[in-house]
């Protein structure tokens, strides 16, 4: 049987204190114990009501995030949002939202295994990211709460600023994890 290990496994399994300092003070920390639900609906009012009653969150405007306690809602497209929540609540909240949206045209899909969430921080963060992404990610152009679906290192990525000028959360498809780690390491040390 093949053993599949990704570059971030050593961090997850506790061999590292929790994060990896790559270079130039660029620190990568896997976001642990979080689940992801993809919410799709064109019935915004029904989705809004379901979210407010279940977790007290409002739908964010385009390119924005909203959060309340451990729940973060990221805008994806005009009819799609990504809900980040504690992993242990993924099934129960997903089922509760599905029940509330039973009569609306909506889909709730568990994306926890599809995407990898990383927090990248450090003084050289914007410079490193902007060498592989066409967006201006400096603090004044990418303020807290801003979300962007874009291309990072030639792969699709969701970037969002959780607050502060020196860290960005990055979600990528799990299959691109090795590529992203190699790209971050190569770019940061160049």
């Amino acid at each position: 049987m093949l053993e599949h290990r990704t570059p971030f496994d050593s961090i997850r399994e506790g061999e590292d204190p929790g994060s990896a300092t790559i270079a130039r003070e660029l620190i990568v920390t896997p976001v642990r114990d979080k689940g992801l639900l993809l919410l799709q609906s064109a019935c915004l009012q029904a989705l809004q009501t379901a979210l407010e009653r279940e977790i007290g969150l409002r739908l964010p405007p385009a390119q924005q995030a909203s959060w309340h306690g451990p729940y973060v809602l990221l805008w994806q497209t005009p009819a799609q949002w990504l809900l980040q929540l504690p992993a242990r609540e993924c099934d129960s909240i997903g089922a509760a939202l599905s029940d509330r949206l039973a009569s609306a045209l909506a889909a709730i899909t568990d994306f926890s295994d599809a995407l990898v969430a990383l927090e990248v921080g450090g003084a050289g963060l914007a410079d490193v990211f902007m060498s592989g992404c066409s967006l201006d990610l400096r603090a004044d152009a990418f303020p807290p709460g801003r979300v962007a679906r874009t291309s990072l290192a030639d792969v699709p990525a969701i970037l969002w600023n959780p607050g502060g000028s020196d860290r960005i959360h990055c979600l990528i498809e799990r299959g691109f994890e090795t590529h992203l780690f190699a790209w971050l390491k190569g770019t940061a040390t160049r």
């Binding site: 385009a62 390119q63 497209t77 005009p78 066409s134 962007a148 874009t150 291309s151």
Partner: protein, 93 residues
């Protein structure tokens, strides 16, 4: 490189988009009544003008929405972008 203003995401670089062809290209019908030449015209023949043209693009790396772009095929200037649900922008100079 083109800089395209997505109606949902704002200005983004061209590599985030994919080209989807000229608009409007109307499908003839019904199929049993369409001649071979009319079908070939629909499938293969485009105006391909020198100058302003309306095109369909998709923001593949972003919001994955289709949009209309008014682009000059000589200068690559982009005059307007619009959602598919909006009226087609004018192309006359």
């Amino acid at each position: 490189m083109l800089r395209i203003s997505c109606p949902w995401c704002g200005p983004r670089d061209e590599p985030e988009f994919r080209w989807g062809g000229e608009v409007p290209v109307l499908r003839p019908g019904p199929p049993e009544a369409v001649s071979d030449s009319a079908w070939a015209q629909y499938l293969f023949v485009r105006d391909n003008p020198k100058g302003w043209v309306r095109e369909r693009w998709v923001h593949a790396f972003g919001c994955r929405q289709w949009l209309i772009v008014v682009r000059n095929t000589v200068t690559h200037e982009i005059r307007a972008t619009a959602r598919l649900t909006e009226p087609l922008p004018e192309v006359t100079p």
